[in-house]
Symmetry: C2
Subunit: 191 residues, 2 copies
Amino acid sequence: MDAVWPVIHVEYPEWVKQHVDWSRAYVKDEDKMGLAIEMSRLNVVNQTGGPFGAAIFEAGTGALLSVGMNSVVRLNNCTLHGEMVAFMTAQARERSFTLRRKDGPATELFTSCDPCAMCLGATLWSGVTRMVCAADREDAFRLNFEEGPVFPQSLDYLRARGIAVETGYMRPQANAVLELYRKSKGVIYNG
Amino acid sequence: MDAVWPVIHVEYPEWVKQHVDWSRAYVKDEDKMGLAIEMSRLNVVNQTGGPFGAAIFEAGTGALLSVGMNSVVRLNNCTLHGEMVAFMTAQARERSFTLRRKDGPATELFTSCDPCAMCLGATLWSGVTRMVCAADREDAFRLNFEEGPVFPQSLDYLRARGIAVETGYMRPQANAVLELYRKSKGVIYNG
């Protein structure tokens, strides 16, 4: 029989090379979320995907473990939301299926928008112990982005399992990128 | 600055080549779920991952689009549940981020166990219009597998968006694989 052998290959878009400084320490929350939102903005500007970005850091040191940006259309893969790309690439660097280490520092996800149902579930499996979100579910809905079956008790479920969840942090800055995307949408889809 | 450039690479385990017949038509639900459960069983027997399998078919023709098997530990990637591998590889074959085609046949996900929160969300984004599950959430819990924030209204949310959801189909056969995994677990984790 002929074998079917699909191969999935995920990499950052090229612009990450020019725009992400891996050597600096992102100590303040403002700097961490600033990078997540910058990923969303550069994804729009470079026409490489939807207006959603993320980044994962070591708590304390502020070391950058990974970035993420919506890559669904670029890579023909519905699972590649910004948070998912950040989880996968952080775990590839760590060579581990969890970012929760026995002795090392805790890890934190910063995302430019409340995660959808898929990304919320993945946050639980990822091993991060803190999730900070900027734009909210309704902000995404206004652009016709669906978020799926996420309910108030979904966030409580994460909190009950030791994940600190903060929402609405730097929401105006994240919303500015959603607005940029809305204005440029025609260009992007015809690009 | 030094660029960090993780590359994610996902392929089926080798045994798929020997054990999956891509040329046959899986017309009956029994045959479709049989393949999903067989993926879970072979994943346990070959010690390539957790006891969860999935498969995606064209409705009507019964053509096989993809298979999936839990690959979290094998590939150091917390997102690679059986359903996720099935979505990604089906979309890679279709070169499309959705399995919902304008004119072609509908597509269906068969999974050996109720999907976790992440996979349930991804089901919504995948483009399948039918999801059939075998073992249930409590069956998974008995093996200490978490399912995350999935509530009764989560399934209703999918149904309201045009996805037919059926649960408990061929549950005893799927549970036999969970039991096989429980018995062989020591071997697998020390492998």
